[in-house]
Each structure stands twice: as C-alpha cells, then as structure tokens.
C-alpha cells in the first residue's frame, strides 16, 4: 500500500457521500430521522478540511477523530471508531492482508461501540461481509478456497504476488458490501432508530448499511492508488 492510499480513499469517500447525500437522507427518512446524508456529508467535508490542514498526520486516525468530534448522531462515533481503529492497526506500509486485518479491526470497533452484530440491520450488515471478502481475497486461502502457495501469504503486496489485483480485491469487498446492504431490506431492525419501527422497519434498506457500501465501494474506485510497494 502506498502511504497516500488512505487519504485518496477518504477523499473519494467525501466525494461519493456528497453525491449520494440525498439518497442516504431519503433512506433515513423512511426508517430513521432523515439526517444520515446530511450527517455524513458534513462529517466528510470536515475530514477533507482536517486532512488538508494536517497532511502529515495519519489520515485514518485524523479522519476518525474528526468524525467523532464533528458529526454527532450514531454514525459519527461509529464511523469515527471504524477509521480510528483501522488507522491504529495499519502501518504506513501494509500488505493487502494487513489492510484486510486493519479493516476488520475497525469493524470490530464499530460492533463493540454499537453493541451490535450482523443481522441487526445496521452498517455492520455491509461492513462485516466486506471485511470477510477482504480477508478471503487476501488471505492464505485466496482467492477461492485453494491453499495459498507456501510463503506467499499476506505480508507481500498485490501487484507482485497476490493472484488478485487491488481492483479485484476491493471489487469483491464492494460487491459483498452492496449485497450486505441490499440484504438489510427484509430485516427487522434491532439496533438504531429503525428498531423503533418494529415490523415497519422491514422492507427498507438501512441507511448506514447503504453508506457503508458507498465507503467500501470507494476503495474499489481508488484501487489504482494502491500502488505497488
């Protein structure tokens, strides 16, 4: 991973969140309180400012702290914790498998803070499948259950060793996240505001799962920035 990759990813997150702001708010209007798009857009605009102000700092930690400090709501601390935990776990240089592990650490932080699990109809329903897809695509068994060649496990970089390109790895994660988000539609919400609706939460996509799919999708969009070393 190039050192600039996290910053590139976060910039793309800011772009896509701004572009999809209305859709996210509309999803939140249906089963929440109609502010998810506004919250994230405000938050990632702040992230952009914070990164520009402190280009030297760890981009993920800075972004996470910014979200925690500026967004409020449920998604602020949750996405903030995701990025902070991920940043703390990720070295300046990282292999694909290390990236996957760091992402997973971030998702665990969300689950811990949110006291929530897959199936609760939250962002975790997109984040967990993405974490698993990343791990699977970069781990010893990657790409498809075949044993990884000895000595070629996760500590090396995509372009040289892995049988999957960065674009392919992030593409699988993005697909998994989108499928996970879509799978929230029939779920009965147990966490977040949608849980207040009981049965009426069924039939709607969770806004946080939708935004998570966007953030993971952003990884795929900026896969070119992954770099070689």
């Amino acid at each position: 991973m190039r050192a600039g990759f996290p910053a590139a990813w976060l910039a793309e997150c800011a772009r896509v969140v701004a572009a999809e702001r209305e859709r996210l708010t509309a999803l939140d209007a249906a089963i929440g309180d109609a502010d998810h798009g506004a919250n994230l857009d405000r938050g990632f605009a702040e992230v952009r400012r914070a990164l520009a102000a402190a280009p030297e700092a760890d981009a993920l930690v800075t972004a996470g702290t910014t979200l925690i400090r500026k967004v409020g709501g449920a998604s602020g601390p949750l996405y903030g914790s995701l990025l902070r935990a991920m940043g703390a776990a990720l070295g300046a240089q990282a292999s694909p498998a290390e990236f996957a592990a760091a992402f997973t650490t971030g998702v665990e932080a969300v689950a811990r803070l949110g006291r929530s699990a897959e199936g609760d109809k939250t962002m975790l329903d997109a984040l967990w499948p993405a974490a698993r897809a990343l791990t699977d695509a970069t781990g010893p068994q990657a790409p498809s259950g075949l044993p990884a060649p000895p000595g070629l496990s996760g500590s090396l970089e995509f372009p040289e060793i892995s049988r999957l390109s960065a674009a392919e790895v992030f593409g699988r994660a993005a697909t998994a996240a989108r499928a996970g988000a879509a799978a929230t539609v029939p779920m009965l919400a147990r966490k977040g505001r949608a849980s207040y609706l009981g049965e009426r939460s069924v039939g709607h996509e969770d806004p946080g799962a939708a935004s998570s799919a966007l953030l993971v999708g952003a990884l795929e969009t900026v896969a070119d920035e992954w770099g070689g070393g």
Binding site: D35, G72, G73, A74, P77
Partner: protein
C-alpha cells in the same frame, strides 16, 4: 414546506443566537448553552443535550432549578463529545456532574465518549427511556427517551440546587425515569430543514401511533379519530405498561405544530381517563415542551409521583421554558 430560517445549514446556530439575544440569563458559546450565572459552588452540575429540533428542550431548560448547561446538536443529531465535554466542564462546581441522556444510540455514544474524555472529574449518567411505543428488550436499542426527560431534568435540577450529592441526584433522576411513561401520536410529519420535505407522507385521514421525537414514523398507522379516541389509545398504552394509580404528574405535550387549543382538548380527555382509572392528576403541564420540529400531534407523559417528587417538581425553577416560584 416553508420555514422561517436563513439557510438549512445555519438553523441551529441562528436559533442559538436568538436564544442568547432573548435570554440574558443564558450564554451561548461554541454550541453550548449555559447559565450566565453559574450555580453555587459545591452543587452537582446538570448537563443534557441532544439533537436540535425539540425546543424548548434542552437549551430552554437551562437555568436555576434545572440544567447548568445544554449541548444542542444539529437538527435531530446528537451533540459531539467536545461540546458535551465543554458543557460538563462548565457544570462542574466541585460536586460532580450528572449527564441526562435520552436513550438514542447517538446520544448514548457521544455522551459516553465525552465522559471518557473527562478525566479527573466525577461524571454520572442517567439514560431516559420512557416511550412505551417501543417494546423493551435486551437485544434492541431499547425504548426512546422522550417527554419524561423534562420531568427528570426538573426533579434532578431541584435536588441539585438543594445541595444533594451526585449519587442522590442520579438516583432521583433514575427514579423519575423509572416511574414515567410516554406515548406519542402524529397528525403530520415534520420537515427536517436539510431534507426540505416531510420525513414521511401521511394521508389526510390517517394518523401515526407511537411516534418518537425525531419526525420518524410511528409503530403503526390508523384512521384519524376524535381527540377522545386518540387520547385513549395513548393512555391505554401508558396504562398497559405502568398502571395508573395514585398521584400523577401528567404532561400533554405538543409536537411543535399543534396549537395550544388542541392540546387543551386532548388534556381534557387525558384527565378524564386518569379519573376513570381512579388515579389523580396531581400536577400537569400542557404545551409544546419536547417537540419534533413542526410536526403536528401530541404526546402524553405520565409520572407516578409521591410527596417528595411533587415537592421537587414544585421547587422554584427559572428557565426560558419552565418557570415558577421565582
């Protein structure tokens, strides 16, 4: 949906500027609203906060006998830890600070994070979860904090003003929460300024039952009906969860867009219901206190009070939103 605002993004800041201009008893700094005259040293401080759009809750309850500081978030979005921390630091008068938190994931998380950041200060916290429309369960986000938050802030505020220690104030706050139940009914959706159109559509002949205070749709929908029937639905839900008996503190609260004349019509029905159950309206409040932007509708909140709680309710209070005894 037309609104009296300058721009969706500046509503909260503009409204806070208006509060500051209107109430010399308040100071507004960095989206924290605090008393301009801090309370006596050695008294427990009270901080609450939450998304904006519920006015007068919470900033309108800052003042003698209630909160020391409030931290309003963006519309329907909980405040951020920095804000809560600043409010907590102001409220610290040497006897610790109680956070009064409405039970929403965002509020709970942000207050928790703020309490963690507050090293070296004693912070206790009470989570209000009074809304019977939501079935309580260990596996869910639990009940929402709604109208009873006002009861908690008033009673805890009175006790803090009397010099009770943090533990006692927290316990009283918890007790008020435990004795309180609420249920809300909406006639129309509200409109979040940034969203620009009503959060949900509600046909002209339907109402939403079991709404919260964030413009969210309710648990179910039914045909619109006379005030008597709607009051009965709400009171049945409250009574089914915590049977009405003895002395009650009863609030009929407007959701923001419902005029007082209609709230009094509802109160008449609620009072009749209470009498019918052999209970007594010992104290009451009718008005727009815990609102959901411009939503039309009402919620009813009931607290089983004893002599001590009634005394604390009656204690002097001097805030923009609630005032008596001074």
């Amino acid at each position: 949906m037309k609104k009296l605002i300058n721009a969706p993004g500046s509503v909260v800041a503009d409204a806070l500027a208006g509060m500051a201009a209107a109430h010399p008893s308040l100071l507004v700094e960095g989206q924290v609203v605090r008393r301009s005259r801090p309370k006596e040293a050695g008294r427990v401080g009270l901080v609450s906060g939450g998304g904006s759009g519920h006015e007068p809750l919470h900033a309108g309850f800052v003042g003698y006998g209630m909160l020391d500081a409030a931290c309003p978030g963006e519309i329907f979005t909980s405040p951020v830890p920095d804000q809560i921390l600043a409010a907590t630091e102001f409220a610290e008068r040497g006897a610790g600070v109680l956070h009064i938190v409405k039970n929403y994931t965002g509020d709970v998380l942000n207050f928790e994070l703020a309490a963690e950041l507050r090293e070296g200060g004693r912070v206790a916290s009470v989570v209000v979860a009074d809304d019977v429309a939501v079935k309580d369960s260990l596996y869910t986000a639990g009940r929402r904090g709604t109208g009873a938050t006002l009861f908690v802030e008033k009673v805890a505020g009175a006790l803090a003003e009397q010099g009770a220690p943090l533990d006692d104030v927290r316990r009283a706050a918890e007790e008020v929460g435990a004795r309180s139940r609420s249920f809300g009914v909406a006639l129309t959706s509200g409109t979040v300024p940034a969203a620009g159109r009503p959060t949900f559509d509600l046909p002209e002949d339907q109402v939403e039952l079991g709404i919260g205070i964030h413009g969210e749709p309710g648990r179910s929908r039914r045909a619109h009906a006379p005030a008597r029937e709607l009051a009965e639905v709400a009171m049945d839900a409250v009574d089914g969860d915590l049977p009405l008996r003895g002395d009650l503190l009863v609030m009929v609260n407007g959701m923001g867009g419902t005029p007082l004349i209609e709230l009094y019509v509802v109160f008449a029905e609620v009072a009749a219901y209470v009498r019918g159950k052999g209970a007594r309206v010992a104290r009451s409040l009718v008005g727009n206190y815990v609102t959901s932007l411009d939503m039309q509708g009402f919620s009813v909140s009931v607290c089983q009070v004893d002599e001590r709680l009634t005394g604390l309710w009656d204690a002097p209070v001097e805030t923009p939103g609630l005032r008596w005894g001074r």
